[in-house]
C-alpha cells in the first residue's frame, strides 16, 4: 500500500512539471507534438529508473564529498545509452528531439531524485519512485504535447481531428509552449486547491 502511494505521488500531487516546476527546458522544447512529448518522457523515465537503481545500489560505497559528481557520471552513462539506442532504432524521434536527449543529463528531476530519494532509500522503493516520477513527467509532457498539437494543427498523435487550416499555428511555435503550460498549471492549481 505504501509503495503504491510512493508510485502514484508523481502524477498529480508531486507532479515534477505541473507542481514542482522542474525540468522546464525539455518540457517546453520537445512538446510540439504529443508523440515527441511521450518519447521524451519515456526516455527520461528510463534514465530516472536506472540511475535511481544504481545510485541506491552504490550509495554506501561513495564517500559523501564526491557523491554529486558520482551521481552525474551514473546519469550521464544512462543518457549515453539512451542516445545510442534511440539513434539506432528510432532515428526519426532522435532527429526531432535533437539536442534535448544529451540534455537529459542536466534535467534537475533526475539529479534531484538521485540526491533526495535514491541515496537514502532501499533499492525497491528507489526504483518505484523513479517509475512514478518518470511516468508523471511523461504524463505531463504528453498532455502538454497533445494540447499544443491539437490547437496548433488539429491533430492528435498524428490523427486529424479537424482541418489544419483552422489550427492556431502559434501553439506549435515557441510562444505557444509558454502560454499553454501557463494555463495548464493554472488549471492544476485550481484542482489541487479544491481537493484540499
Amino acid at each position: 500500500m505504501n509503495q503504491w502511494k510512493n508510485f502514484t505521488k508523481g502524477f498529480i500531487k508531486e507532479n515534477p512539471v505541473f507542481v514542482l516546476l522542474l525540468g522546464m527546458c525539455p518540457t517546453l522544447g520537445t512538446t510540439g507534438t504529443a508523440i515527441n512529448g511521450l518519447g521524451m518522457g519515456l526516455a527520461t523515465t528510463f534514465v530516472l529508473v536506472m540511475s535511481n537503481l544504481v545510485v541506491s545500489l552504490i550509495k554506501n560505497l561513495i564517500p559523501d564529498k564526491v557523491r554529486i559528481p558520482a551521481f552525474i557520471v551514473v546519469i550521464a552513462t544512462f543518457v549515453t545509452i539512451v542516445e545510442m539506442v534511440m539513434q539506432a532504432y528510432l532515428p526519426s524521434l532522435y532527429e526531432s528531439l535533437g539536442l534535448f536527449i544529451p540534455l537529459i543529463v542536466v534535467n534537475c528531476i533526475v539529479l534531484g531524485r538521485a540526491e533526495a530519494f535514491a541515496s537514502k532509500n532501499t533499492i525497491t522503493s528507489s526504483v518505484i519512485d523513479g517509475l512514478g516520477i518518470g511516468f508523471g513527467f511523461a504524463f505531463a509532457l504528453t498532455i502538454l504535447g497533445s494540447v499544443r498539437e491539437l490547437l496548433g494543427s488539429g491533430k492528435l498523435f498524428d490523427i486529424t481531428i479537424y482541418p489544419e487550416d483552422y489550427g492556431m499555428l502559434v501553439f506549435i511555435l515557441a510562444p505557444g509552449a509558454f502560454i499553454a503550460l501557463g494555463y495548464i498549471i493554472a488549471l492544476i492549481n485550481r484542482m489541487n486547491k479544491k481537493n484540499a
Partner: protein, 190 residues
C-alpha cells in the same frame, strides 16, 4: 560579416531562452528581481564562454582523434561541473567582490542546460574556435537580454491585479509567451 550574422541570429532571431528553450529554469527561477537577473547573467556569460572554449578543445584534440565521440555527453558535463567549481575557488581568492556578486549563482549553473547546450551546439554547427567563442558570447547576451526584460515584466505584473488562479507562475509563463511572440518578429532578419 559572418560574425555579425552569428551574433544577430543568436541574440534576436534564435534567442536561446525564448526560441530554443535552453536555460528556462533560471529564466523562471531568478527573474523575480532585476538585480538578481543581472548577477545571474554575469555568471552565465562567464562560465558559458569558458566552458565553450574548454569543451571545444576537448572535442577536437581528444574525442575526435581517438574516435570516442560517444563520450561527448559524459566528458562535457564533467568538465563543466569541475570548471564551475574551479571558477568558484579562483574567484573567491582573486576577486572577492566579483565572487560576492556572482557566488550564489555559480552552483546553480552546473545544471543550467544553456551551458551544456551551447557547448554541444558549437560542435554540431561545426564552428571553429573563434566562431564558437563569438557564438557563446552572443548567446550569453541573448540570455541576459531575455532574462532582464522578463524580470522587468515580472516586477510590473506583481503589482497588478491578476486573476486569482493565474497568480505567480502561470501569469509569468503567459507573459513569457507574449515576450517570445515579440521576439518572433525578428525572424525575417537573418
Amino acid at each position: 560579416m559572418e560574425y555579425i550574422i552569428i551574433i544577430i541570429s543568436a541574440i534576436l532571431v534564435n534567442n536561446i531562452v525564448l526560441n530554443q528553450f535552453l536555460g528556462v529554469c533560471p529564466f523562471l527561477g531568478v527573474s523575480k528581481k532585476i538585480e538578481t537577473a543581472v548577477g545571474m547573467t554575469g555568471a552565465v556569460a562567464f562560465v558559458m564562454v569558458l566552458a565553450t572554449i574548454v569543451t571545444f578543445l576537448i572535442q577536437h584534440y581528444i574525442l575526435f582523434p581517438f574516435g570516442i565521440g560517444y563520450l561527448q555527453t559524459i566528458s562535457f558535463i564533467l568538465v563543466i561541473a569541475s570548471l564551475v567549481q574551479l571558477v568558484e575557488i579562483v574567484l573567491k581568492k582573486v576577486s572577492p567582490s566579483l565572487y560576492q556578486a556572482l557566488g550564489v549563482f555559480l552552483p546553480l549553473i552546473t545544471t543550467n542546460c544553456a551551458i551544456l547546450g551551447v557547448a554541444i551546439l558549437v560542435i554540431q554547427k561545426e564552428f571553429n574556435l573563434m566562431e564558437g567563442v563569438v557564438y557563446a558570447v552572443a548567446n550569453a547576451v541573448g540570455f541576459g537580454l531575455a532574462l532582464i526584460i522578463f524580470a522587468g515584466l515580472r516586477e510590473h505584473t506583481d503589482m497588478q491585479n491578476v486573476p486569482k488562479g493565474l497568480k505567480g507562475v502561470p501569469i509569468a509563463l503567459i507573459s513569457a509567451g507574449i515576450l517570445a511572440m515579440a521576439f518572433m518578429g525578428f525572424s525575417g532578419i537573418v
